[in-house]
Amino acid sequence: MGAFAARRLAALIITMMVVSMLIFAAFEWTPGQVASKMLGPFATPEQVELLTEQMGLNRPAPVRYIEWVGNVLRGDLGYSTYFKTDVNNIIWDRLGNTLLLASIAFAIIVPCSIIFGVAAGMREGSKLDRSISVLSIVTTSVPEFASGVFLATIFVIILGWLPGASTLESGGDWSIASQLVLPVAVMVLFDLGYVVRMVRAAMVDVMMKPYIRTAVLKGLSFRKVVLGHALRNAMVVSLTVILLQINYLIAGVVVVETIFAYPGFGHMILESALSKDTATVEAATLIIVLIVVVTQIAGDLGYMWLNPRIRFK
């Protein structure tokens, strides 16, 4: 396990290096572009050249890459041309807002997916299974912007129970809590169905295993068979899938945040991308990839911990 963790840590560092190179190559290889982006469309070629020189952008790419990596490692994420402030001033607040949304959604998704997935998968083909399966297929198939439109139509326009925008401003008519309901609901609707189906598939697979037959023929009650013998085995497979949802919840929420004008991380990536704010996009991408890779490692370690076949070898 220790060797495994060390190996994954090395892989993490390599991945981050390659990713940073890719990002750098994609956005900063051609130095003229950076300066002209910063100066806007009305700059003269002389101005662009001058700024390029000032910023040291005409030096060779590897030198600038190393400098950039050095800055990032020292905590200097650069200057945001869109938010007109240091990236550090904006990015962490946004990440915090998104984490709030993500953790509420995650706290709902994990228990619900396990309960529904296990309930559906323990008796394959039962009425309960069919209903849960079809329902999850349908909810995951509705794009977030569409379910956002549907939910807003019902709860904002027809019923008037909830606010249509979640700007997290506390001064208005709506409490912060009420502002969080719709974004969380859209995220849960879109993601829950997928996780339920994964847990269900794992459960169905486990329930067909001979050791479940052994447990039944020992005389154990169905409840004990499911909770005592099937659940853990189904969780071994499902854990990775469940943990991977953290990535969706933090990075995949661009759409949800856009619909509800939520001041989150995803919305920030979109805004800065649309306005070619390279520094912000680069920093945000690095952070996101780091989160993804770390959750993957956590998932693998959890899998090893739950699975004695790997733990005791």
């Binding site: 060797a3 060390a6 190996r7 083909g125 295993k209 001979p210 050791y211 037959r213 052994t214 447990a215 039944v216 023929l217 020992k218 005389g219 154990l220 009650s221 005592g228 013998h229 853990r232 085995n233 071994v236 739950l306 699975n307 004695p308 076949r309 005791f312 070898k313």
Partner: protein
């Protein structure tokens, strides 16, 4: 078969544990209702052991699970009664059923690894049973579990309790499953192919254990097996099942010595008898295969495959079960019982076998000091992974037109040897000479077309040997085109010829593998291997996945083809009776080494290598009076990653001399006739030991 007159005496005294009355088991499928078992009758007295035998697809396992009342979603008992201790199981509530399952009625399964929960310690899985049924504390349950693990001959039960299933060997796992079944002292134990998939020596030990525990706990047993020999070791009575029906039932010795139903005779005749070989006779397979239960005929279900069938009598009315005159409790379901000729199992008359081993042909294959060592590539974090010594100093030859058999249990290196011969792996050291080429170090991709043409292979698993996406015709034509370099139209006519050669009808060219039975797939695989008219055919356990009836046909086919084509066959097998029948020369392998080599007559007669002796004694034999005293090997095959300075078999050898066996490599005794035995015990002493054991 419960007509009152034929009930066993014991049964009249006490009520039988289990009674089946006209039990009909059906599966509801999309194609309609299939009556897998039409009407089954039998009973089982307390402490009695009944074997159920038959080909796969005959409904043996269905009966087992029907008794457990665990038929899955589609299975139903649609008629009749199953009485357990006099209680109708159909009327039991879920609760009542749960109370007897695991306590009065327990089961042992075919594949022990998958029958144990992989994420639960052995201890917890065992303790569950008495805690549930005997309402004892965890500590008491633990003590009982430890006691039973000791009873199933597992050394260090306390340690086993802490283990997870994957940390045990196959034999240990099956002992754990047996201990689990006995945890609550059941009245009836249903064993579904409990030793299938275990090595011969492990199987022998498990069978002995079952026979011994049975008497100790006075448990009745239903023992299901496709292997007639294993049933003979454990059971008092045997029921032969065909097509969902019990076609013959009776005391096992009577049934095996004097089989009455043509199907029983067919099964027994398919098995090579110990001592018979290919020069003395051919095996008699049963033609055809078990039909689909969708269309059950009116009369005898076996009629279509029966050589004694008389359509007027056999196919027009339901067949009654008739008692065998003069033999109590022996019955058979055949209308022509009285007209059938008496059955004689093939007996080897001394001197009848034509020994052709005297003349020697040229060597097609010469293996010289061959080593295969797997060295897993290290990583920065795991620098020194252990080497696996798959083959150590192998020396063998195979003559033109002859069969060299390689025998041993799993992990003995026989498959590694096949891989080196075929070029899937290359030798680490030593030489492999095929005709005039040195091929040991050339991977298959780099071999010349002539070399590839000269060596072909028949594989073990019929389900993976053919590409499921391609038709039979495509597979054979492609092989012909590649290996003979002929045109597509020529390949077409030649493919038809090859199909005829392996006795398959022409229509099969358009079939896909999933439309074929296991035996048919193996025939296609043989046709494909013959496409290049190879000098050497390697057959890696080609019949081990097949039913005995089909196995016999494939073995006959291999013998015929070898004679016709004068091809050399390297036959890899764990089945000693098949090897005895088919081979000219035999090499016995253990842990990557050849421990004994010689002609088939030499290897199958004393002096034996102690391992050969143990293997022979362990092989299940389906002949009454031919059972031997078994030499039970302790422990399991050591890991191939360990470097063993002495004899590889020393750790398990019942005839171990002492430290010399552990420390010094055994000398190889070679007789003038070429019989080689690698053992510290001198040949004369071995011969004496062996004959004494036989007496």
């Amino acid at each position: 078969m419960t007509n009152p007159a034929s009930l066993r005496q014991t049964a009249t005294v006490a009520r039988p544990i289990l009674e089946l009355h006209d039990v009909k088991i059906s599966y509801v499928t999309r194609a309609g209702r299939i009556d897998v078992v039409p009407a089954l009758n039998f009973s089982l007295a307390k402490g009695e052991a009944l074997g159920l035998v038959g080909e796969s697809g005959c409904g043996k396992s269905t009966v087992a699970y029907a008794i457990m009342k665990y038929l899955g979603g589609a299975g139903r008992i649609t008629n009749g009664q199953i009485l357990f201790n006099g209680q109708d199981m159909a009327r039991m509530s879920e609760d009542e059923l749960r109370r007897i399952r695991g306590s009065k009625l327990a089961m042992v399964y075919q594949d022990p690894m998958s029958s144990l929960n992989p994420t639960m310690r052995i201890g917890r899985q065992l303790e569950e049973v008495p805690m549930l049924h005997m309402k004892v504390s965890r500590e008491e349950a633990r003590q009982r579990a430890i006691k039973l693990l000791g009873e199933v001959n597992l050394s260090d039960p306390e340690m086993i309790m802490e283990r997870y299933p994957h940390q045990l060997s196959g034999g240990q796992q099956q002992r754990v499953v047996i201990a689990m079944a006995l945890m609550a002292e059941p009245d009836l134990l249903v064993m579904d192919e409990p030793t299938t998939g275990l090595d011969v020596t492990v199987e022998a030990a498990v069978l002995d254990l079952v026979a011994q525990l049975r008497h100790k706990h006075d448990t009745a047993i239903i023992f299901i097996s496709h292997n007639l020999g294993t049933v003979l070791r454990v059971c008092d009575r045997v029921g032969v099942m065909y097509f969902g029906e019990l076609v013959e039932e009776g005391p096992i010795r009577e049934v095996f010595a004097n089989p009455r139903h043509p199907y029983t005779r067919g099964l027994l005749d398919s098995i090579p008898t110990m001592g018979a070989d290919k020069h003395s006779r051919r095996l008699s397979p049963i033609a055809g295969q078990v039909p689909s239960a969708l269309a059950r005929p009116v009369g005898c279900g076996f009629a279509a495959r029966c050589s004694f069938c008389e359509p007027a009598a056999c196919t027009t009315a339901p067949i009654p079960t008739l008692p065998i005159p003069g033999e109590a409790h022996h019955e058979a379901k055949c209308v022509r019982l009285a007209e059938l000729p008496p059955h004689r199992r093939f007996q080897v008359v001394q001197g009848e076998a034509i020994s052709e081993t005297a003349k020697t042909g040229e060597n097609v294959l010469t293996i010289d000091h061959l080593y295969k060592i797997y060295r897993p590539s290290g990583t920065i974090f795991d620098s020194k992974p252990a080497e696996v010594r798959a083959l150590t100093d192998i020396e063998l030859t195979a003559e033109r037109g002859r069969t060299l058999a390689i025998v041993g249990e799993s992990g003995c290196g026989k498959s590694s040897l096949a891989k080196v011969l075929t070029g899937i792996e290359v030798a680490t050291q030593g030489k492999v000479k095929l005709i005039d080429w040195e091929i040991g170090h050339i991977p298959v991709e780099k071999r010349s077309q002539a070399q590839k043409k000269s060596i072909q292979m028949v594989f073990q698993n019929p389900d993976s040997t053919l590409n499921p996406s391609h038709t039979v015709g495509f597979a054979i034509r492609r092989a012909l085109q590649r290996l003979r370099g002929i045109t597509a139209s020529q390949a077409k006519t030649q493919a038809a010829e090859l199909l005829r050669l392996v006795n398959l009808p022409m229509e099969f060219v358009n079939r896909r593998p999933r439309q074929l039975s296991g035996g048919q797939k193996q025939r296609v695989a043989i046709a494909r291997a013959l496409a290049g008219d190879p000098a050497l055919i390697i057959a890696d356990e080609p019949v081990s996945a097949l039913d005995v009836s089909v196995q016999a046909a494939i073995i006959n086919l291999l013998i015929d083809l070898q004679e016709k084509r004068d091809a050399t066959l390297v036959f890899i097998s764990h089945d000693l009776s098949v090897v005895r029948f088919l081979a000219d020369h035999v090499a016995v392998m253990y842990l990557g080494r050849v421990v004994e080599y010689g002609t088939v007559e030499q290897v199958y007669a004393p002096p034996y290598h102690p391992y050969t002796e143990a293997l022979l004694s362990a092989a299940p034999v389906a002949e009454v009076g031919k059972e031997r005293d078994r030499i039970i090997l302790e422990g399991s095959i050591p890991s191939a990653t360990k470097l063993i300075p002495g004899c590889p078999f020393a750790s398990r050898c019942p005839r171990k001399l002492g430290a010399v066996c552990d420390d010094q490599p055994p000398p190889e005794h070679v007789t003038q006739q070429g019989h080689r035995i690698a053992c510290h015990i001198p040949l004369e002493d071995l011969a004496k030991l062996n004959t004494r054991a036989a007496e």
